[in-house]
Point group: C2
Chain length 357, copies 2
């Protein structure tokens, strides 16, 4: 059954399809659609795409951090306009988070707002980023400083495409799924861990946790679309996760960096007396399979780069760092943490000692 | 007395100040402000600007059509970020329409929406474009295809800066003022023409018609911020005006092209039997001082370029061209006009015969 998500710009639906072909065929007005497609995905799924998105109506983009930059957008706009995109047309975006960021930004400013539909192709995009309406693009050395709030008009999901994802992409998606279930509370988290213990790629389990994750996320984004209040809690693990991605030059997939960030935030919460050490110990044990061996990459990153990245995180104002801390599953809270006295020692200890075990 | 304009993003005020210094001093949080300023204006008004907008917190832009392009925006973003602009800061934009387009676009996407305040410095920007929240930027050879709806948080007006404008800039501003009074109806238009007959640069008259113009425009943009209905009527004269600007490579100032566009639309309305010829004859006589000698530039433009530009106008769909036509002052209406049968003969006649007289 489709979800309907409320948004200031326009409400939108998330629809579940059995196959890629049926998801693509659901696009409205295919005759007026231009397609923005992840190049690798287009190669893997050529037959399904060729039927609906002929190459003359398709702009291909590499899903790299560099493609998600303001400087790289002009060819995308010109490719779409040159292929005849009009204000009464639509943009169909097929890909993961990078394609979604590019497509959302382009659709939000082309003709001052163009209809777009999204076919998310990664577990992370399906379970998390496909709702919430944000885009982020980089400029120069500044990460994610440019963006818009502009949800797709429809999200067309199919777990059929997840089978072709590399294992680390699946783990990265589960990073955000784990985060969302920790936000949801104890029972959801336990059920997820039980399912994950027996996980070996079952499409049914992927589909289940995509739907469950969207159900957790939906009320946060509907209550606080512009991320000024309760939605901040969705950043649990992200202040540290973003810094770990940046300090390793994006050598750690996003969701896996979030898992490391969750552990860091929990370790810090223990040190600040917010949560018993037993909770951290449980997460440390449960989540180890979901980040190994990327902790090694983090341990090899220069600490100065980690701390510079945390300091420059766009959410900071003044000297303290706003962190999402935890009092246990379902009990996250935002708190300013003193950088030198509280944050640096906790993060250093986490990276130097906790990742060794 | 300030105006308050309603907008989906946020309501905003238009405040009237006696001097440039008082307008600039009214900016909130000058300590956190970065300034985007028209280079020529900054030279003309250095003392007032230097007091509040030191060069280290100022990005200068040439007010040219080329500056208003997507490709030219990266240095603006990097200039602002490099000078320390933060999400809790604000952008103050000082200039005319080009600066407003650039500033509005930048503010709308930087940090997914940054506070900005606008000090409009041309008559056209003060009387017309400063409210309504739209930005337009060019990309490649595509004009105005990229943009956003994102009003400033405050508009700080002062007619004190209008004295330094070249005469054609003043005439260009009056082009939009004339359009707005024609939309308002007979009495406003007659009063304007009476004032203009005795106009020799009096600041009091400029201030009066700035305020009167904003009062006409306000209900249109509040009722239809996203330009899907009644606001279309504000485009009276613009389908042709934009084409005349484009075909003369921006050799005709915008508001003066609008005056020529108003005459064209009225001439076409007469040919279609919508309005008596006497109305066109009156406008032709009244408006001659407000477009001469730019009709000559238009007569020298290749007709093919004029008609290509009309065809490519972004508001068109299908084969007919949507035009704002007139049944007399205060009685504009939107109508599809057959391109080959109705539009081309009327525009050709206007350019070849009407501009000669």
């Amino acid at each position: 059954m489709p979800l309907t998500i409320k948004s200031r710009a326009h409400d939108y639906t998330v629809e579940f399809h059995p196959t890629l072909a049926s998801a693509l065929a659901a696009v409205v007005h295919p005759d007026r659609a231009l397609w923005l497609v992840d190049r690798r995905f287009a190669e893997l799924h050529a037959p399904a795409l060729d039927a609906l998105a002929p190459s003359g109506r398709r702009v291909l983009v590499e899903a790299t951090e560099g493609a998600k930059s303001f400087e790289a957008l002009a060819p995308v706009f010109l490719g779409l306009l040159g292929r005849g995109l009009k204000r009464d047309g639509l943009l169909v975006v097929v890909g993961g988070g990078v394609l979604q960021d590019i497509g959302c930004f382009v659709a939000s400013v082309l003709f001052r707002g163009l209809r777009w539909e999204l076919v998310p192709t990664t577990l992370l995009a399906q379970a998390d980023s496909c709702i919430g309406s944000k885009s982020s693009v980089n400029i120069g050395s500044y990460k994610n400083q440019i963006g818009t709030f502009y949800p797709p008009h429809r999200v067309l999901l199919t777990s059929a495409v997840l089978a072709t994802l590399p294992p680390d992409e699946i783990r990265s998606g589960f990073g955000e799924i784990i985060k969302l279930q920790l936000l949801a509370g104890e029972p959801g988290y336990r059920e997820l861990m039980a399912d994950l213990a027996g996980f070996s790629g079952q499409p049914g389990l992927l589909a289940k946790w995509v739907a469950r994750s969207l159900a957790v996320k939906q009320p946060y984004i509907e209550a606080d679309e512009f991320d000024r209040g309760v939605r901040n809690l969705l950043n649990y693990g992200h202040t540290f996760g973003h810094a770990y991605e940046s300090a390793t030059h994006y050598g750690i997939p996003h969701g896996i960096a979030v898992v490391l960030g969750i552990l860091t935030a929990t370790h810090l919460s223990v040190r600040l007396g917010l949560v018993p050490a037993a909770h951290y110990a449980e997460l440390k044990r449960d989540l180890a399979p979901w980040h190994r061996p990327f902790g090694d990459a983090l341990r090899q990153a220069p600490p100065a780069q980690v701390f510079t990245a945390i300091r420059h995180d766009k959410k900071n104002t003044g000297t303290a760092v706003n962190c999402i801390l935890t009092r246990g599953p379902g009990r996250m809270e935002k708190r300013p943490v003193d950088f030198d006295r509280e944050l640096v020692p906790a993060v250093t200890e986490f990276i130097e000692q906790e990742l060794m075990a």
